[in-house]
């Protein structure tokens, strides 16, 4: 969590960020797409129609200036929180019930970025909600089928993926990524950056830090989320 006084110039309040982000979504959804700007966050609210659901699903997409959740090294604008269908059983939800739409360590083309536009994020949410419905309809935790592609749970460790223990997850909120050395075999063929991550310094392997957006220098930002320290091995 990044604490500190609010800034007035963060990315979410900039028209040059909002306009291209919203353009296609506004054309598609018109006045149904609502924007609520607060000093530290911008929330888009949109009712999303999902096949097989009688009523549209009211969805909140929240971009934070300084997210109160770990972004796993991504700039906050690339890792918004998306809330829909509260308390639904799903294999892909965050601890705070947000939708786990994509693995933050995926290459660019496998995760949403603001340059893709809000419409693409809304489409991604619709797919996710449809996959959740289908998963529940086909047996949920017993034998439910997830139609879409899935990344393994948690982060890779010693050549495999693991779900961090609650204690470690708490520490990740400060440290963002826990890396351990181990076997050289890649955990899965669709995890391209993992081998590089293990052999390079943590900071250099991360995406560019969003200093221009949140008014912090890269160093201060990294230090504030504990990235400047050597990763635990």
């Amino acid at each position: 969590m990044i604490l500190g006084p609010p800034t007035v110039n963060w990315y979410g309040v900039q028209p040059c960020w909002q306009i291209p982000l919203e353009a296609a979504a506004r054309r598609e959804h018109g006045a149904r797409l609502r924007r609520n700007v607060q000093w530290d966050r911008i929330t888009y609210q949109i009712p999303i129609e999902v096949p097989g659901r009688r009523d549209p699903v009211l969805t909140d997409i929240v971009f934070y200036e300084r997210p109160p959740y770990p972004c796993w090294g991504l700039p906050p604008e690339e890792y918004p929180r998306v809330y829909a269908v509260p308390d639904a059983t799903s294999p892909h939800r965050m601890p705070d019930d947000a939708l786990c739409l994509y693995y933050p360590r995926s290459p660019d083309h496998e995760r949403w970025r603001p340059a893709d536009g809000l419409l693409m994020l809304i489409d991604l949410v619709r797919n996710h909600l449809f996959f959740e419905d289908h998963w529940r309809a086909t047996g949920a935790n017993l034998c439910g089928i997830w139609l879409g592609a899935e990344a393994p749970q948690g982060f890779p460790e010693v050549g495999r993926w693991h779900r961090p223990s609650p204690r470690r997850r708490r520490s990740q909120r400060n440290r963002t990524l826990v890396l351990t050395s181990g076997e050289a075999s890649p955990p899965a063929q669709s995890l391209p950056s993992w081998a590089q991550l293990r052999h390079s310094s943590l900071e250099s392997s991360l995406p560019p830090l969003p200093s221009r957006h949140i008014g912090l220098s890269s160093k201060r930002f990294a230090a504030s989320i504990g990235l400047a320290s050597t990763p635990k091995r």
Partner: protein
Amino acid sequence: MVNKLPTLEELLTQARHQIEVTPEEIEEARRRRETIANALRNEFPGSRVYFNGSLAHGDALTPLTDIDLGIVIAAAKYTHGPGLAGPRDLMDRAAGAIRRELKSSFPKLTVQVEGCTRAVLVRFGDPVHAGEKGFTCDVICAIDNVNADGLFIPKVPGWSRSHPETHTRMIRAAIKESKVTFAHVVRLLKHWNRCNDRPLVSWNIKALALGCIHGPITQLSGLATWFSFAGRELDKGLTEDPARVAEKPIKLGSGWTQTQVVAELRAGSKRVDEAIRLERDGYPLQAHEQLARLFNDEEMLPYPNPDAVREEAALGWKTLSTGGLTAGVGSGFGRPQVQARSWTE
């Protein structure tokens, strides 16, 4: 035995039957209309009566709650009109005549002139459709326009130009030319309008239909044509009187802005086009779902079984997501998708 799913056209026909005015309602409404017409003919000898509104245009919906008629008062042709006398005394005479001649048949009848700018309002206090609160009739006291086409109709304290007789003629001609499909499409659109907060007045729906529905057409094509045309036309400006007589264009639904109405029409257009595409691509349940969403009325057009829709969509998704590429579901179909992998912390 395999149950064949209904086509969209069949669904629309079934749905339309749910909203069509019943023969009993029509018969009773016509009887009352004729009673009022006779009262007016007696009061204003030599005048002609005309009928307009949904009953006269052949697109009335159930429950039928009102009718419209007018009388063109011959004796007032040179005494009333712009620059001469206003309509109020004629409206009072019409109201008195209706009270006199109908009170015995309808004990709860009330006839109102005070506060009415256009028409004498007749409340029968007795519905023609069980369950409704009442039944009303708007009576217009008009005079011929001696200098130009059309009539002068009241806009108390003065007059405004209109041509209701031509409107009815135009609508009837369109119904005949289209072999009744004009009326079918208008009925469906009027129901869409009332289930979606009434962005348009009924007359605007018909005026726009006159501009785009020519000749026989399926209901589905009619809807697609109308939504597309209406969105484009209202984007350019409000709809002018098709008879080219009224000074002002047709007003939008109460509380609606032009931008909002255009957005609503475009959304409707997109939905109908999407339903057509889904049916063409072999997804009848999702196509049905789109139509149900359009009309937003379970009683008129029930939603398909949600599990069956989901199953169909899942099957379609699997078919379309080939080569490791994820397709979009629902309205996201056909757009580029983020090839994301769902995750858990």
